[in-house]
């Protein structure tokens, strides 16, 4: 591994002109998609500098999405943990119930600006699919969402929501029938329909420029949270905690704080435990996680000894993915963010704790971050402040949670 030079130690120097975050990133796609990605990069560069575009996005984030989302001091949860204060950034209160709308809205406006008529999206938990279907309805665009059939079964309410919003939801039967396979199918669709369709990728992964676009659009979370903490708590938090599937809600929270020297923790899906090999933990030293190339990007990928992509498992569909965004791979390698894993059982316990102590049903994805925050809070002094990204609401997970609780005999 090439040593990271001085510039590289500033987390703000990335990506470089080739779409790399240190050794991670790039653009590993079929030739058919290379020009469309170059066009997207150029269109985004212009939109990013265009005050009209930014004003339109800001207005919709305020008047349609309901931003800024609040931050909530979780007093009873903190007391129960017996240590540091746990604060929540309430992305669950954004329209459609998760942070995914921040990205979907920004990219859909970009698609419209590029003259595209149709949006293609993949979805795991269904939150990105719902967000994309929503903005498609808002902007009068066609929308096709690919979803693994296993995920369709476990996130059925979101499938219905997407269909009610007018989206064409297509079941993906191939491979592991989860998010990974939905991305495969979305990329295949895009290879046919590049001229009229926009691929609205939902996380901070994939080929350049997607990780950059998604980070920019989700950074609204961290920018707001920074101001809100200063206003409500009178200071910045000591620790940030967020769950990491592809990594969009985490990078959105972390990025505006990177220069502040604040401790940051990314929480991956520990599934049934790292020893079980049934997990989706890429950045915690699991032996099956190696640098490789999947979905257009060089990053850590769970794989077997022959380079075939490993089957993953998590109770949460949104974290059930074998690879991770390239900027997280870099932050991991720099040691700037600590990554850890929370099991299905721990996430479920955190789900129940937040419900009973704070009256909030978190998404199972976000429950992973809550679980880690509860662990951390117990070990820290009362003055310490933890800020957790509560990335989504849990209504979509009621069936999964009730089945798991029944099985656990609780």
């Amino acid at each position: 591994m090439t040593p990271l030079c001085e510039r590289n130690l500033s987390p703000h120097g990335w990506p470089d002109a080739r779409g790399y975050y240190g050794p991670y990133g790039g653009r590993f796609v079929a030739e058919t998609l290379m020009e469309p990605l170059a066009e997207l990069e150029e269109a985004y560069r212009q939109a990013r500098e265009d005050p009209t575009f930014q004003a339109e996005l800001a207005a919709l984030l305020c008047h349609y999405v309901g931003r800024p989302t609040p931050i909530t001091y979780a007093q009873r949860l903190s007391a129960a943990c017996g240590g540091a204060q746990i604060w929540l950034k309430r992305e669950d209160l954004a329209h459609t119930g998760a942070h995914k709308i921040n990205n979907a809205l920004g990219q859909a406006l970009l698609a419209k600006r590029m003259g595209k008529k149709r949006l293609i999206a993949e979805t795991g938990a269904g939150q990105h699919g719902v967000a994309t279907a929503t903005v498609a309805a808002l902007l009068g665009m066609e929308c096709t969402v690919y979803m693994g059939c296993e995920d369709m079964a476990r996130q059925a309410p979101n499938v219905l929501r997407m269909r009610l919003l007018g989206a064409d939801v297509r079941a993906v039967e191939g491979g592991s029938r989860t998010l990974k396979d939905a991305i495969n199918e979305a990329l295949r669709d895009w290879a046919y329909s590049v001229r009229e369709s926009y691929y609205l990728l939902g996380s901070a992964l994939g080929p350049h420029p997607y990780p950059l676009i998604v980070r920019d659009l989700q950074s609204v979370i961290g920018r707001e949270a920074r101001e809100q903490m200063l206003a409500q708590a009178g200071r910045l938090p000591d620790i940030l905690v967020a769950c990491v599937g592809g990594g969009s809600n985490a990078i959105g929270l972390f990025y505006p704080f990177l220069q502040d020297g604040i401790e940051m923790v990314g929480v991956e899906a520990g599934g049934e435990g790292l020893a079980s090999h049934r997990h989706a933990s890429r950045l915690t030293g699991a032996p099956e996680s190696r640098v490789g190339v999947l979905h257009g990007v060089r990053t850590y990928v769970l794989q077997d000894e022959h380079g075939q992509i490993a089957a993953t498992h998590s109770i949460s569909a949104g974290l059930d993915y074998p690879s991770v965004g390239p900027e997280h791979a870099l932050l991991y390698e720099m040691g700037r963010v600590r990554y850890t894993a929370v099991t299905d059982g721990e996430a479920l316990a955190a789900f129940q704790a937040l419900a009973r102590l704070e009256g909030i049903l978190p998404a199972l994805e976000s429950a992973h971050a809550i679980a880690e925050a509860m662990r951390l809070a117990a070990a820290r002094p009362k003055e310490a402040i933890l800020l957790v990204n509560l990335s989504g609401r849990g209504d979509k997970d009621l069936d999964t949670v009730s089945a798991a609780l029944e099985e656990g005999g609780r």
Partner: protein, 268 residues
């Protein structure tokens, strides 16, 4: 066989022979290990007997993003059959040991190669008698490390151009590809298509202006009539999914189908 030309030279010789016989070269794709690893040697021989000039051997990958349903299914079956990259290399080794001379290139996605090690993979390919590589998810911008490894062992790294490729990148691809230039006939992924479009012929003419290697066209070509229409304009025609679809019918049927394609490539 010691006297078999290798790598770029083997591919050049195959195109030269076809040209001398006044026909376009026929390049066929078959997923290794489909329908089973035991079937693969006989099927590959049948392709050569039917008249294929160059064989593309597909190294199966769990997530074949550039492939349609036929090759997706074949890849899945092949993986279930234990078709690892090493098994593919061994398949080539055994054929070469039996004196099989038809040029062979491995077509497969980047991650298994990356995992094997770029140098180690190129070296193993050289040792067993593979002549080149086609890696659909490595565009010219990301090709340098793999190109270096291939050059070190005399393998041809065959690059692809697509209907969306603009002229500046087309020039770069044409300058860097080795063995031949793989021109993707239409948008989308691999699989039987709905015929050839007029754009394709303009595209072929444009590509030929920049190419310093033979140009072969693939994606969506399944019928002898399509091959016949293309033959006067290109150096080679690539047929993939249509071969894979017929592989379960066995070597005899496959050889017959390949012979029908080959006959269609003869120039009037």
């Amino acid at each position: 066989m010691k006297d078999r030309p290798f790598g770029r030279e083997a591919l050049a010789a195959a195109f030269a022979r076809a040209r001398a016989e006044r026909r376009a070269a026929l390049i066929t794709y078959l997923t290794a290990g489909y329908p089973s690893l035991e079937d693969s040697p006989a099927l590959l021989k049948a392709l050569a007997q039917g008249g294929a000039d160059i064989l593309e051997l597909g190294v199966p990958f769990s997530d074949p993003i550039a492939d349609g349903p036929t090759i997706q299914k074949a890849s899945y079956v092949a993986l279930q059959n234990g078709t690892t990259p090493s098994a593919c290399l061994n398949l080539v080794r055994r054929l070469r040991e039996e004196g099989f001379r038809t040029p062979m290139v491995l077509m497969g996605y980047y991650n298994p190669i990356y995992r094997y090690g770029l140098e180690a993979y190129a070296q193993a390919c050289r040792e067993v008698g593979v002549d080149g590589l086609i890696v659909p998810d490595v565009p010219v911008e990301e090709a340098e490390p793999l190109q270096s490894a291939c050059r070190a062992y005399g393998l041809a790294l065959i690059l692809l151009a697509a209907p969306t490729t603009r002229e500046d990148r087309l020039r770069r691809i044409a300058a860097q590809t080795e063995g031949f230039l793989y021109l993707v006939a239409r948008l989308g992924i691999t699989g039987a298509g709905d015929g050839l479009t007029g754009d394709l012929f303009d595209r072929v003419a444009q590509v030929r202006r920049f190419a310093r290697t033979p140009v072969a066209v693939g994606f969506g070509i399944a019928m002898p009539e399509q091959a016949r229409a293309l033959a006067p304009w290109v150096d080679g025609v690539i047929v993939g999914s249509a071969i894979v679809e017929r592989a379960p019918q066995g070597p005899g049927a496959l050889a017959e189908y390949v012979a029908s394609l080959r006959a269609a490539l003869r120039l009037a």
